[in-house]
Symmetry: C2
Subunit: 153 residues, 2 copies
C-alpha cells in the first residue's frame, strides 16, 4: 500500500520530515483509512527531548506538520472526487498555521500513532485536527490550517 | 558569553534542538539582550523542506520551540530578580502550547535570526512572542505558552 507522500511530485519530495527524496529524514508515511489519516512512527533515540527517554518536542511538532499536510492532500482529493493516483496535477498543501498542544511527555522507544481528521475544507484551505498517541495515551494534539498551492497546470 | 541553554541543568540538556549534551542536535544558543531573547542559526541543508532550498517547516517549529523555552527561563529569572548563574535551583520551562504561523518560505543557506519577547509571566507560566527572520524578512512567527516545572528543591 503506497503512502500519501509517495504521490507527492518530485519537486515536493525533499522534506526532512516525510520526503521520499530526502535520504536523511524521517520519511513519515501517512495513509487515508476510512475517514482518518493515520501514520505510525518510532522515533530514533537521537531525537531526545530535554529529559532523557522522552521525544524532543520539535520532532513532535514536525510529525504533526507533515502528517497534517498529507491529511489535507488526501481529504482534498476525496472532496473533489479524485483519486490520488489519477496521474493529473497533484493537489499540494503547505502549512499556514500549526498549533501544537503538549499534554504529557512522549516516550522514546515506543511506536507513535498519529491521526488526522478533517475539520473543514474549501477550495483554498483545509483545517485538520491532529493527535499523536503512545501506548493509547494522547501525548500531543494540534490543529493545522493547510493552504492549497495554486495548480501550475 | 554563555547562552541560556548553557545554564540548563544536566538532566535537562539532552534536547535535540538545543541541548548541550545531545551530540546529534542543533545546539541552538539563545541570549537575553536588553528586553529580547535572540538567537542566530544557519540550518544544515539536509533539513530541506518539501521544496529544495527551503527550510523544513518542522525544523522552524523546533527552533521556535527551543528558543521559546529559553526565553521563558530568561524572563522568569529577570521577573524574580535572580541571575541565571546564581547557582541555585534553576527555573525550568516546558512547552504547553506552541502556535507557529508560516508567512513565507524560509531560505536555506542563510543565517536565521530568532527573537523572543515577553508577553506575560506569572508564577506558573510565561507567554512568549516569537519570530524568525531571514535577510530581514519575517518568515515565521509564533507564540508559546511555556509552563514552569515545579522546583525539586
Amino acid at each position: 500500500m503506497l503512502a500519501i507522500q509517495d504521490f507527492y511530485p518530485a519537486e515536493f519530495s525533499h522534506c526532512y520530515g516525510c520526503g521520499t527524496r530526502n535520504p536523511h529524514g524521517h520519511k513519515l508515511q501517512s495513509y487515508l483509512i476510512g475517514d482518518i489519516v493515520e501514520a505510525r512512527y518510532t522515533v530514533d533515540p537521537i531525537y531526545s527531548g530535554g529529559f532523557p527517554n522522552k521525544v524532543y518536542g520539535g520532532l513532535l511538532a514536525s510529525l504533526l506538520d507533515c502528517h497534517g499536510a498529507a491529511s489535507a492532500a488526501a481529504f482534498s482529493y476525496r472532496a473533489i472526487g479524485r483519486e490520488i493516483d489519477d496521474g493529473s496535477a497533484p493537489d499540494r498543501f503547505v502549512t499556514g498555521t500549526l498549533t501544537v498542544v503538549y499534554h504529557k511527555p512522549t516516550p522514546l522507544g515506543v511506536e507513535l500513532f498519529l491521526q488526522g481528521k478533517l475539520k473543514s475544507i474549501s477550495n483554498r484551505k483545509a483545517i485538520i485536527e491532529l493527535s499523536l498517541s503512545a501506548d493509547g495515551n494522547v501525548c500531543v494534539s494540534g490543529e493545522m490550517i493547510a493552504i492549497k498551492l495554486p495548480s501550475e497546470t
